[in-house]
């Protein structure tokens, strides 16, 4: 056994952007590779489940797991890595809060499967065949992972030590986290490895944010010519900054686009969407229900807007039905 710390990367329901973020460390990745032994990284290296199963428990120093947990296979991997690792870092918005995949929590599993395998445009499946968890072929039993009814964040399945927020986490935060882990100077369990205040604090447009937003209408980015200097909320755009944790250095507002909330809330907020409603929607102009509703119509998809990356972590967790 080598004396270097053993590091594992794994992906669950994710897009690969978090793997990309690791590669985005650029030259810094050489320092990481020098300091550690990578024992699992499905996107880049050829290790198998059996390799991990064969290891003694707790023999992996750190496992970075990204992606939401949506299938039985992802659950099994998460539990396996938990058993084999001393520290698990929940990596990225999907692992932390369900991410984009968690938007599926607005639908029943049956409806999703029916659409994908029967009703969707371009589907040609007259026999209505669907993947089965277990099936027979030429006398052999074949198995496939099962799709769960609920899309979960990683910490809804296993115990997690730390969180790296973002879609994806920025190279700067990743490097800081790796250095903290390698130095052994660990923050308390449960810490989100990013500054614990609202994004507005580090936004270059902060000074132009009025005390009273006095919003008379909501607009979407394609509907207006966005002023590159002025607070995006003050321009009527739904910018999630006030309810979102800092750490990305406000890259989206710097690129003239509103924050969509991928870092999740700060530690004092339980529910990002509800808190956003609380802070921003109290500041719209009208006082009568009817006129208020007309302003609210400017946000056609409240769940997809306020919980774009976090429906698993909404206090209600998913749509009831």
């Amino acid at each position: 056994m080598s004396a270097k710390p053993q590091v594992a990367f794994y992906w669950c329901a994710s897009c690969g952007g978090c793997e990309e973020a690791v590669v985005d460390l650029a030259e810094d990745i050489l320092k990481v590779v020098e300091a550690v032994d990578i024992v699992l990284w499905p996107v880049a290296m050829d290790f198998k489940k059996a390799d991990i199963e064969a290891r003694p428990d707790k023999s992996i120093t750190v496992a970075f797991i990204n992606g939401a947990v949506r299938t039985s296979e992802q659950e099994e991997w998460a539990r396996l890595l938990r058993r084999k690792s001393q520290v698990v870092v929940s990596f990225g918005a999907c692992a932390n809060m369900g991410g984009i995949p968690a938007l599926a929590n607005q639908f029943r599993r049956e409806d999703l499967l029916k659409y994908i395998y029967e009703d969707g445009p371009g589907v040609d499946n007259p026999a209505k065949t669907r993947p089965q968890a277990s099936s027979q072929d030429e006398g052999r039993t074949l198995s496939l992972p099962e799709l769960r009814n609920v899309v979960r964040s990683l910490d809804q399945v296993i115990d997690v030590e730390f969180y790296l927020p973002g879609c994806p986490p920025t190279p700067k935060l990743i490097m800081a986290a790796v250095q903290a882990l390698l130095s052994g100077q660990l923050p308390p369990k449960g810490t989100v490895l990013s500054p614990d205040h609202a994004l507005c604090e580090e936004c270059a447009r902060k000074d132009s944010k009025p005390v009273d937003l006095a919003l008379a209408a909501f607009k979407r980015p394609h509907q207006i010519q966005i002023d590159p200097e002025k607070c995006l909320l003050a321009q009527g755009l739904v910018c999630m900054g006030p309810a979102t944790r800092a750490g990305c250095e406000a890259v989206c507002p710097a690129g003239n686009m509103p924050c969509t909330g991928c870092f999740g809330p700060s530690s004092r907020v339980k529910d990002q969407g509800a808190k956003f409603i609380s802070s921003v929607f109290s500041n719209i102009v009208p006082k009568e229900a009817k006129e208020i509703d007309a302003v609210l119509d400017g946000v056609p998809d409240p769940i997809g807007t306020f919980y774009r990356y976090g429906l698993s972590k909404c206090i209600l967790r998913r749509k009831l039905n």
Partner: protein, 179 residues
């Protein structure tokens, strides 16, 4: 205490008679005072509300409403001063705006209409407290239990078998620490 036999034959109550649990956030200046008035006036209303006094309806964060549902409330009632009467001038307007959006959100997440209600009740309207509480209790009773804590448990049951399977194949304890 009293050993007097009951005159009526003992009828076994149905095992699980549903009694709605409604969390009510009442503002200190109007609706809570109205609830007090209802009490002093000996108005009887359904005992299904658990009143929480807040300084202003504007203090009620939408998170509180979600949390109440998640902890087992079947309904949430929010009471504040009439428009124009807020002790803090604007608090109830802020509440109205937030809650109009919260209502949309609850609807999209499958929480039925009658489970959340916002009412303006002034300190003089003890009878309105009675009417609103009775009406809402009846409405929530008709909707049936929400039982989110039960639903959360039920949802997570799909993970049980696999968890046992993975743990069963685990070595007894943390037997090997390799550094």
């Amino acid at each position: 205490m009293s050993e007097q036999p009951s005159m009526a034959p003992v009828v076994a109550a149905p095992a699980v008679a549903f009694e709605p649990r409604i969390v009510a956030f009442f503002c200190n200046w109007c609706t809570y005072t109205a609830a007090d008035l209802a009490g002093v006036s000996r108005l009887k209303y359904a005992p299904n509300v658990r009143v929480i006094r807040v300084m202003c309806s504007g203090r009620v964060d939408p998170q509180f409403v979600l949390e109440a549902f998640a902890k087992g409330a079947d309904g949430v009632l929010l009471g504040g001063c009439h428009p124009g009467d807020c002790h803090y001038a604007e608090g109830n307007y802020k509440t109205l705006r937030r809650m109009r959006m919260l209502i949309r959100m609850l609807k999209e997440l499958g929480i039925e209409d009658g489970r959340f209600r916002l009412e303006w009740i002034s300190g003089a309207e003890g009878d309105k407290v009675k009417a609103v509480v009775n009406e809402m209790t009846a409405q929530v009773r008709a909707l049936g239990p929400l039982d989110l804590p039960g639903k959360f448990k039920e949802w997570d049951r799909e993970m049980e078998d696999l968890e046992q399977h993975v743990n069963a194949s685990a070595p007894q304890q943390e037997e090997a620490h390799v550094r």
